[in-house]
């Protein structure tokens, strides 16, 4: 589903940072991959390159067989197939919860009012906030906002979902409700790439765990292998610091 080959990304401003160094990775359909690593190791950049919020400098990225770095590719089409959930939710504050979930359905998918409404209500029910449809985002708790953001992304019927630290901005008591929604998604067979510091989630849900450091993928493995006896010293050091 996602095929990343020899991707490099360097930021030049404010100063030169090699954010991604020869990153190669493959995520199969229905697979859940958790990306972990220290701050500044390039996890967000990796995810953002997958829907071209950042453009990789070189290498190849295929999403469902489409080369997204090919200038002839219509990136908006690809992005509609790749949902993204942000650390800071980024809900549209001037739109109600309902409108947040229907807007892109209407303007991107060109769905009818009735169809988008039906879909929105179903998804809001799925993430457990159907009773807040008419409310504006600033009246919701962080956990509720993040669940709306997930519903908003799911409304496009994406083939892949990207999560960039979806629970890092949440109060501890709200983390569970968001993780539950994500676990359900994984169970339903959604292809997911998740950057998170929630190791419990990684152990329970991930098919593979990727450990990144200084822009490079250091180690990939199943949670079992990864948490019990990792190959690399760098991984061991990191795990000892966070566990």
């Amino acid at each position: 589903m996602i095929d990343v080959r020899n991707v490099y990304k360097t930021f030049l401003t404010p100063h030169e940072v090699k954010a991604l160094v020869d990153v190669t990775s493959k995520i199969d359909a229905g697979e859940v991959v958790v990306v972990i690593g220290p701050s500044g190791s390039g996890k967000s950049t990796f995810l953002r390159c997958l829907n071209q919020l950042e453009t990789a400098d070189s290498g190849h990225i295929f999403i469902d067989g489409i080369d997204i770095l090919d200038p002839k590719t219509d990136i908006n089409k690809v992005r509609a197939e790749v949902g993204m959930v942000f650390q800071s939710f980024n809900l549209f504050p001037h739109k109600s919860v309902f409108e947040n979930v229907t807007l892109a359905q209407r303007v991107v998918r060109k769905r009818s009012k009735a169809e988008s409404k039906e879909k929105a209500m179903r998804l809001l029910e799925k993430v457990g906030i159907q009773d807040k449809a008419a409310v504006y985002p600033d009246q919701l708790s962080g956990g509720q906002q993040q669940r709306v953001a997930i519903a908003r992304a799911l409304a496009m019927d994406p083939k892949v979902m990207l999560f960039d630290e979806p629970t890092s901005a949440l109060d501890p008591e709200m983390i569970g409700e968001v993780l539950d929604v994500m676990k359900n998604l994984a169970r339903e067979g959604m292809t997911m790439a998740v950057v998170t510091h929630e190791m419990g989630f990684a152990r329970e849900v991930a098919d593979n765990v990727i450990f990144m450091d200084a822009g490079a993928i250091v180690e990939v493995g199943t949670p079992d292998h990864f948490f019990k006896n990792p190959d690399h010293d760098r991984t061991k050091l990191f795990l000892s610091q966070i566990l």
């Binding site: 197939e81 001037h94 892109a104 953001a149």
Partner: protein
């Protein structure tokens, strides 16, 4: 304890009242001082002369220019028709009137009044005010469009768009409006009208439109900066969220960024437009008879400069005040949504 609180409140209230009194005394003092100074130079205040520059009554007379007999008269829908027979010739007089002063059979002579009417006409100050309002509104309308596209071009990734916008904005903001009006009128105006004449359009473009163009392009540059600042004040995550859903740049601007930026754009925009209304007073120099030019003309004929300039300032104040009230209303409405 309670007593001392009441005492303190009383003291506060008294000192507040004293300040208000001071303010009004100062104001009265200024006005009295001005009045006294004008007495010293024997200026005669004639406020009663001012209203006629707003509205005045004009008498229109339908006059005869032959000698003869009136054969018929009629007055219908404010139009009088009088027929006068001179020998075998019948002359017909037709014109706007409220009453007819002759009857069939009357003998009339040249210069006799056949019919007359008294009409209220808008005075030159009102005409000037209307022109100021008209010029400002057209310039604001185009200024918003220029500013919107200028602002979007200014933050565009396309270098051609971006540098065009930067050049435009810097040129306009870096030179005086008066000079820009001259350039529009004497340089571009001459060029355009000469070319038009050459290709058979004899009439050319009237000065009014060069004035409007100068004001619109001037305002557009400032609006562009306001729009740019408004858009850039919206968090980057909003664009990213919109784009990650597959929206195009235009869609994310239209549905997500601009509606949010609008709230932050309206207040500085209001200030800009109030400046525009005031700046339109410069258009008098290219023979556009807006409020200031109108006032200047009245001053030279009436010899009442003091009254008229105060009235002129007051009229601008009313315009700008009304306008800012209207925009505040818009802002409140946007906030409610």
């Amino acid at each position: 304890m309670n007593d001392s609180l009441t005492q303190r409140l009383n003291k506060q209230r008294r000192s507040y009242q004293l300040s208000v009194l001071c303010f009004f005394m100062l104001l009265a003092g200024l006005i009295a001082g001005l009045y006294y100074a004008t007495l010293q130079i024997d200026y005669v205040w004639r406020w009663y002369n001012v209203p006629k520059y707003f509205v005045y009554q004009q008498t229109i007379e339908l006059k005869c220019d032959v000698e003869g007999d009136v054969t018929s008269t009629s007055l219908k829908d404010g139009v009088a028709v009088v027929k006068v027979k001179q020998g075998d010739d019948v002359s017909t007089y037709e014109g706007e009137a409220q009453e007819i002063s002759v009857e069939p059979g009357d003998v009339v002579y040249p210069d006799d009044v056949l019919a007359s009417g008294q009409y209220w006409k808008a005075g030159i100050l009102i005409l000037g005010l209307i022109l100021t309002l008209k010029v400002s509104m057209i310039a604001i309308f185009f200024g918003i469009f220029i500013g919107l596209f200028g602002g979007l071009a200014r933050i565009s990734d396309n270098p051609a768009l971006k540098w065009s916008a930067v050049t435009y904005i810097e040129l306009i903001r870096g030179s005086p409006l008066l000079v820009q009006i001259f350039i529009w009128y004497f340089v571009l105006g001459t060029l355009i009208n000469t070319l038009l004449t050459k290709y058979g359009f004899e009439n050319g473009v009237p000065p009014l439109w060069f004035g409007v163009a100068a004001l619109a392009s001037f305002t557009g540059a400032y609006v562009a900066e306001i729009v740019r600042a408004g858009i850039q004040s919206i968090h980057r995550g909003q664009t990213e969220a919109a784009r990650s859903l597959g929206m195009t740049y235009a869609q994310s601007m239209l549905h997500v960024i601009l509606p949010q930026a609008m709230l932050r754009i309206i207040p500085p925009l209001a200030g800009q437009f109030i400046s525009l209304i005031k700046d339109s007073s410069l258009l008098g120099i290219i023979a556009i008879r807006e409020l200031t030019k109108a006032t200047r003309e009245v001053v030279t004929t009436s010899l009442q400069p003091f009254e008229l300039w105060f009235v002129c300032a007051l009229l601008y104040l009313i315009l700008t005040f009304t306008f800012s009230m209207f925009l505040q209303y818009l802002e409140r409405r946007a906030l409610v949504q």
